[in-house]
């Protein structure tokens, strides 16, 4: 009885394991694997094995069709870095995208969460409005914003004209120097919802007594935020930053829908350029090498994230 209570209250796995061994309960040891088998099998076949195989393929020169592949070591990576100009454009675009994603959706999301956390009448409706773009597919977001940026009839240029700002009108998505920024702005519109939701959830864990006490001590709204709320949101903030960074590096559909990498490859990302190299130019080795580089970049942000997620056992 006392062991039972102990297992119940402390979730202590060792006790159970000892028990299992003593009674020779093989079923107990096999059954977790039976429960895991379908998920693990399909996940391993569809995600893990292809991932490892891609890393292997990145060491070969191959057109995707020929029966033989030529081992070239790190040649594909070296070629990308030294001879492939678009690789550098894509890398730079990824960097700009990443910085924008770490700054904009996160801070807008936090601001909206703080605002909507004040329980005023109708706050639920506003929450829906601000969250809504996040449920749209990026392809749809891309299409909608393509019309907004349309040079003659698009809303943006028309609005600029109406406010007497004709000088600011642009051919937004065909101007090679700026085309990536309108795309990032469209992506931001979609990316705000998730941080907002996560921050709202985080704010629910801030004890109201603490804020009340700070208020009685004479702290204004700003100081209450800096000294009470924000420190308590530390973990949420880390998760939000990690998820937005990972999502930013995954960006693909919206570029495909809006510019397809153009004009003159100026809006390529590593993800889209990987597609071009692999499926349009049949240089599978270089394409998978880009995928590996993209994965390594993602890891920088993912490792702290995975740490947080697995720590709480």
């Amino acid at each position: 009885m006392s062991t039972l209570q102990e297992t119940a209250t402390t979730k202590s796995a060792p006790v159970l394991r000892v028990k299992a061994r003593k009674s020779g309960d093989d079923y107990l040891r096999l059954s977790p694997w039976l429960f895991l088998a379908p998920a693990l099998a399909i996940y391993t076949i569809v995600v893990v094995y292809p991932m490892v195989y891609s890393a292997y393929l990145s060491l070969f020169r191959w057109d995707g069709v020929a029966p033989t592949m030529v081992f070239v070591g790190l040649r594909n990576y070296i070629n990308l870095v030294t001879q492939n100009d678009v690789f550098w454009i894509a890398l730079k675009n990824n960097a700009v995208w990443l910085i924008a994603a770490l700054l904009l959706p996160t801070s807008i999301g936090l601001g909206l969460a703080l605002l909507l956390n004040m329980k005023f009448r109708g706050s639920a409706i506003f929450r829906s409005i601000f969250y809504f773009p996040a449920v749209l597919s990026l392809a749809v977001v891309g299409l909608i914003w393509t019309w907004i940026y349309q040079p003659d009839l698009g809303l943006l240029n028309q609005a600029l004209g109406a406010f007497g700002l004709k000088g600011l009108q642009r051919n937004w998505l065909s101007d090679p120097l700026i085309a990536i920024y309108p795309v990032i702005l469209a992506a931001t519109w979609n990316a705000v919802g998730l941080p907002m939701l996560l921050f709202l959830a985080g704010l629910q864990t801030v004890p109201p007594e603490l804020l009340e006490a700070a208020k009685i001590d004479g702290a204004g709204a700003f100081r209450r935020f800096i000294h009470v709320t924000f420190p308590l949101l530390r973990e949420t903030t880390l998760i939000v930053l990690a998820i937005t960074a990972i999502n930013a590096l995954k960006a693909y559909d919206i570029v495909y829908a809006m510019t397809n990498g153009g004009p003159a490859n100026r809006t390529q990302l590593l993800s889209t350029w990987m597609y071009f190299l692999t499926y349009n130019y049949n240089t599978v080795g270089e394409g998978t090498a880009i995928a590996v580089i993209l994965f390594l970049l993602t890891l920088i942000f993912a490792i702290p994230y995975l740490r947080i997620m697995t720590r709480k056992v």
């Binding site: 399909i42 569809v46 299409l143 909608i144 019309w147 809303l155 829908a257 998978t288 890891l299």
Partner: protein, 283 residues
């Protein structure tokens, strides 16, 4: 007298403040929602009206036929393909994810944490990292350009997030209940089916919705692995549609709206589950 005057002064001050607050908020919300409003207006006007008056003017006359024309021009196929893919993927996915998450939380075994970490890696893998081997794999299975091939991939890629959400929920199920059922001689599968799953119903609904929306919206795998037009799912079909009918903004907008409406309905009906589902993923 002066007191009541002061009072009404305070009151009207507060009223102005409230009005200002709501005014500012509504303005920001309107700007935020402009793309959606534009989309709706464009879908309701005819192409001529759009060409003359641009995107944001009130439609001269409402043209519902945009929807039926877009539907007949191919959106019908895309729509039903998306329904099939989502309808098959989500239940199968959730079942295997729940089984795995249950094993990870309640069936104490030595490797539980290692297996969980292994599964979480999938959350961060760029899909590009899997495309070429998956092309080879599906090719050898003759599953390129089939909906079942795509569904298979979706189930695999859904595992990490699903396990994460379900595990977050199963951890809140008291161990005592499970242990008691064990002592009563209940098999693990019965415990899962009769106790854990019913208790996890809110999590299952959350996951259904989050996963349903994600599947409905998925683009890149569909783009790579579906070749023929009649098999395309909505996001892919719409992008295709937009290159074919690049100037017919009215029909295009109607097509996009058709794709978005199911999502809006799900969103409005099950809104709170979005919050709890995401909460479950971070817990």
């Amino acid at each position: 007298m002066s007191q009541s005057l002061q009072k009404s002064g305070v009151l009207s001050g507060r009223l102005t403040k409230t009005a200002l607050f709501y005014g500012a908020l509504i303005l920001v919300a309107l700007i935020w929602f402009t793309p959606v409003i534009t989309l709706i207006i464009t879908a309701l006007k005819d192409a001529g009206d759009f060409a003359v008056n641009g995107a944001f003017s009130i439609p001269k006359s409402i043209r519902w036929s945009n929807f039926s024309e877009a539907w007949d021009a191919g959106v019908k196929n895309y729509f039903w393909n998306s329904v099939i893919v989502t309808g098959v993927k989500v239940p199968i996915g959730i079942l295997i994810e729940a089984l795995a998450a249950f094993a990870l939380t309640h069936m104490h075994f030595r490797w539980a944490n290692k297996v969980f970490t292994y599964i979480l890696i999938g959350l961060i893998v760029p899909i590009q990292m899997t495309l070429v081997p998956l092309t080879l794999l599906l090719n050898s299975l003759n599953l390129i350009d089939t909906l079942h091939g795509l569904i298979l991939l979706y189930i695999g890629f859904g595992v990490p997030f699903g396990v994460l959400v379900m595990r977050g929920f199963f951890r809140t199920v008291p161990t005592a209940i499970i242990e008691a059922a064990r002592l009563d001689g209940c098999s693990w599968f019965r415990i899962f089916y009769r106790i854990a799953l019913p208790l996890a119903l809110p999590a299952v609904i959350s996951l259904c919705i989050l996963d349903g929306v994600a599947t409905w919206n998925e683009f890149i795998l569909a783009q790579i692995f579906l070749r023929s037009d009649e098999l395309r799912t909505l996001p892919l079909g719409l992008v295709q549609f937009s290159t074919q009918f690049s100037t017919q903004y009215d029909q295009l907008a109607a097509a996009v709206l058709i794709a978005v409406v199911p999502i809006v309905l799900v969103f409005l009906l099950f809104q709170r589950y979005f919050v709890s589902g995401m909460g479950g993923a971070v817990k």
